[in-house]
């Protein structure tokens, strides 16, 4: 069993300037030094961690990352109190904040004085302080593969809806990943607040109306609401557009507008800081076969995902509606002329897509921060997966997303962690060059 070692690392915010020369000559600076102890207990600089500095009015006056010595330096205009904020996403893998809610610290900058403040950081293995290539070992490959399969499963579950919507309507929905964010934030909302969160009069009602419920129930609520959200989007926006014969290009641009609107609505409602579910946040990982360490929540989420995916597969293969979905994706006109109610099936695809995306988004929130910005990061990955597998094919979407998940995680063997998504996107571009129809797609006419 892998024990999680906690390392407390101090971040010193020191003020330079004003000691030897007058402050006006050199100017005040804010300095942050970030170090983590490695397995031998030696201090290693943590490189490439992004900090931003704001003045008391909350205006950002600068940002930057720690350099090779783990140091971030910034000139500030005058003495005073500054707020130093760490970007937790820029921390290398295995290193995280002990108190994830506390991403900002005050730094008092006196003329000629020195102030410091602390960010407590924990390090999972005590290693991998620098980003990326810290050697290829069997254990590391196994661990990254497991992480990759996990990511791929969650992405795949969300992407099936995207692929089916494309298959049945021809529309590539850029708003699909916002349905993932919707699910994640809805789960978070019911996990913490319940409906009383915005309907104050319900405060005395039992959960989930008056207060938060266990994440498991919150997830169930969010899946139902995700389906409802998909229904709503189709009923209020896309079905009318289809009826009016709005071109697919126009609909595509509309999905972009919708995505931007939803994304910033989420930011407006939930704020920019990272959040975490109320339960299961600090589970320690178990090691399996001496190779792979996974938390219980990861395993359960992966199990549920596989069950849902098998269920979806059976649904598509065996039920009338599932067959109708595939028939429409295969040849819409033929399906329609053989008596399938195309509009009803499309509506169902949106509902199912919304529910699956909600579940996928909620699960992604288990291992990442619950954040408004999830949607855009995942959008490009699910596009990569769906394109790789073949647009319009449900199983292709799954295979493609698994490959993308594996690719993203395994690429960190060779490239810095901050570039891990770049690899997946590059692969997508290369795939389009050699096999544009994807792995399971049918070749289209190439002009």
């Amino acid at each position: 069993m892998q024990k999680r070692r906690f390392m407390f690392v101090a971040v010193f915010v020191a003020v330079l300037g004003g000691l030897v020369v007058p402050a006006s000559a050199e100017g005040e600076q804010v300095q942050v030094r970030l170090q983590a102890r490695d397995a031998d207990g030696d201090r290693q600089p943590v490189i490439g961690v992004v900090f931003s500095v704001a003045n008391e009015a909350g205006e950002t006056i600068g940002a930057g990352e720690t350099d090779e010595e783990g140091v971030f330096l910034l000139d500030v205009p005058e003495a005073g109190t500054y707020i130093v904020t760490i970007d937790p996403e820029s921390l290398p893998p295995g290193i995280g904040l002990v108190n994830p809610d506390r991403i900002s610290n005050e730094a008092r900058v006196d003329v000629g004085g020195v102030g410091n403040s602390l960010f407590a950081v924990d390090s999972e293995d005590g290693v991998s302080t620098t980003s990326g290539s810290s050697g290829i070992s069997v254990r590391r490959v196994a661990q990254l593969s497991a992480d990759g399969i996990k990511l791929g499963l969650f992405l795949g579950m969300a992407a099936i809806g995207l692929s089916l919507i494309f298959g049945t309507t021809g529309l590539t929905s850029f708003a699909h990943s916002e349905m993932m964010t919707f699910g994640m934030l809805t789960s978070y909302f019911f996990n913490y607040y319940g409906l009383a969160g915005f309907l104050g009069f319900m405060a005395s009602w039992p959960p989930p109306f008056g207060g938060g419920v266990n994440l498991i129930f919150a997830t169930m609520i969010s899946v139902v609401l995700g389906g409802a959200f998909g229904y709503l989007l189709d009923a209020s926006i896309f079905a009318p557009l289809r009826r009016r014969g709005t071109s697919l290009v126009a609909q595509l641009v509309i999905t972009i507008g919708l995505a931007i609107f939803l994304r910033y609505l989420f930011l407006f409602l939930f704020g920019g800081g990272p959040r975490f579910y109320a339960e299961y946040t600090a589970q320690s990982a178990r090691t399996y076969f001496g190779l792979v360490s996974l938390t219980d929540k990861d395993l359960i989420a992966m199990g549920i995902t596989i069950a849902v995916l098998v269920g979806t597969g059976v649904f598509l293969q065996r039920t009338r509606t599932g067959k109708a979905m595939r028939a429409i994706a295969d040849n819409r006109d033929l399906a329609e002329s053989s008596g399938i109610d195309v509009q009803r099936v499309i509506r169902l695809v949106w509902v199912a897509g919304g529910a699956l995306a909600s579940l996928g988004g909620t699960f992604l929130g288990l291992s990442e921060n619950v954040s408004w910005a999830l949607g855009f990061r995942m959008l490009l990955l699910i596009f990569a997966g769906v394109t790789l597998g073949g647009l319009g094919t449900a199983y292709g979407a799954l295979i493609g997303c698994l490959l993308v998940g594996l690719g993203v995680q395994l690429s960190t063997l060779f490239v810095p962690i901050e570039l891990k998504n770049v690899g997946a996107l590059l692969v997508m571009i290369v795939v389009l060059m050699v096999r544009p129809q994807g792995i399971l797609g049918r070749a289209e006419r190439i002009g």
Partner: protein, 339 residues
């Protein structure tokens, strides 16, 4: 009652002045140029470029790197930036232009994000200086600024320092480019391009190489966007990766569609109207929040800047659904479809 009216009038005066300044300011110049490029892509050729911001980024980085890392003279460095934009267009067009229209959309949006992530990565820190970006590289060009960094006020317009030069020379450049696009689109080449947008198969049946035409359009628009990127970065003499985030691409789309795609002057008009609307709305809302008409529990002062994103999302949806031809466009020209 009289007092109230005068206060509102006073507020509106400064709001209007700020909005007009923005509507003809450096941002509007950048957007006008970018929207002209986008108009060639989307309006004339029907190409869905969702990564316009990537072209601006390479144009800006190319120039700054040319000056800082390679020590090129400013003029050559600008050409280097444009060359980068050309190469980006080639790389994006080669795999996608033979495919369905939405593949280009996916690939361009991904490419723009790749560029941003690479630019802010530690791996390329030596060249791009990570998240801080490249600063203080435009000194050589700035020294040519005849206004020498003074603040110039004229009527409702107030511009500071480099902004004056950017506004004056930028709008001249916009006029030249617009006239160039007008000539190109009137030429046989432009007519073939529009025909491809309408019915690619028909054009191919007539023996035209549709792929080559689309590629040329992608490159031409891309280079104009690269130039827009240079101007945007020159205004503050700084290139920072996180300026080039995907939503800005769709700000440009909104500006284009607002004016009406496939018309020569409409991207320019669209950019002006876009910035007027955004600034006006934000300043007005900011005033309402500041004097407490809108309680800060509903909209905190720091959240006012979010409103533009919501607004852009709504505008994009509304325009495409109800008025895809924008203010000046021709509805028939905008009846495009993905293959």
């Amino acid at each position: 009652m009289v007092g109230l009216t005068s206060i509102v009038a006073l507020d509106m005066g400064s709001v209007l002045s700020a909005s007009l300044t923005q509507a003809f300011g450096p941002q509007a110049v950048v957007f006008a140029l970018a929207a002209i490029g986008l108009n060639i892509h989307f309006g004339y050729a029907g190409l869905l470029n969702f990564g316009a911001i990537g072209f601006l980024a390479v144009g800006a980085y190319g120039t700054a790197i040319g000056i800082l890392s390679l020590g090129l003279p400013s003029g050559i460095a600008i050409l280097l930036g444009l060359f980068f934009a050309l190469v980006l267009g080639l790389v994006l067009g080669l795999p996608t232009l033979r495919l369905r229209a939405d593949y280009l959309a996916i690939v361009t949006i991904a490419a723009a994000e790749i560029i941003r992530l690479l630019a802010r990565s530690t791996a390329l820190r030596g060249v791009t200086r990570g998240a801080e970006g490249l600063n203080e590289w435009a000194g050589g060009l700035q020294s040519l600024n005849p206004w020498n960094g003074d603040t110039v006020s004229m009527g409702p317009f107030t511009y500071r320092g480099n902004q004056v030069a950017v506004v004056v020379f930028g709008w001249i450049a916009v006029a030249i480019v617009t006239y160039g696009v007008y000539l190109i689109m009137k030429s046989p080449w432009g007519r073939v391009l529009k025909a491809i947008r309408e019915d690619e198969d028909a054009v191919r049946a007539l023996g035209k190489n549709a792929y080559a035409f689309k590629m040329q359009a992608l490159l031409l628009g891309g280079v104009i966007m690269g130039f827009a990127g240079f101007i945007g970065a020159f205004t503050n003499s700084t290139v920072q990766p996180d300026v080039y985030v995907p939503p800005i691409t769709f700000f440009m789309w909104t500006a284009l569609i607002l004016g009406g795609a496939a018309r020569v002057a409409s991207p320019v008009v669209g950019a002006i109207i876009f910035w007027f609307l955004i600034t006006f709305f934000e300043a007005f809302l900011g005033d309402l929040v500041a004097d407490g008409t809108i309680p800060s529990t509903i909209l905190a002062p720091t959240e006012v800047s979010l409103v533009r994103f919501l607004l852009v999302g709504l505008m994009l949806m509304g325009l495409m659904a109800f008025r895809p031809q924008g203010i000046f466009g021709n509805r028939e020209e905008m009846a495009l479809d993905a293959r």
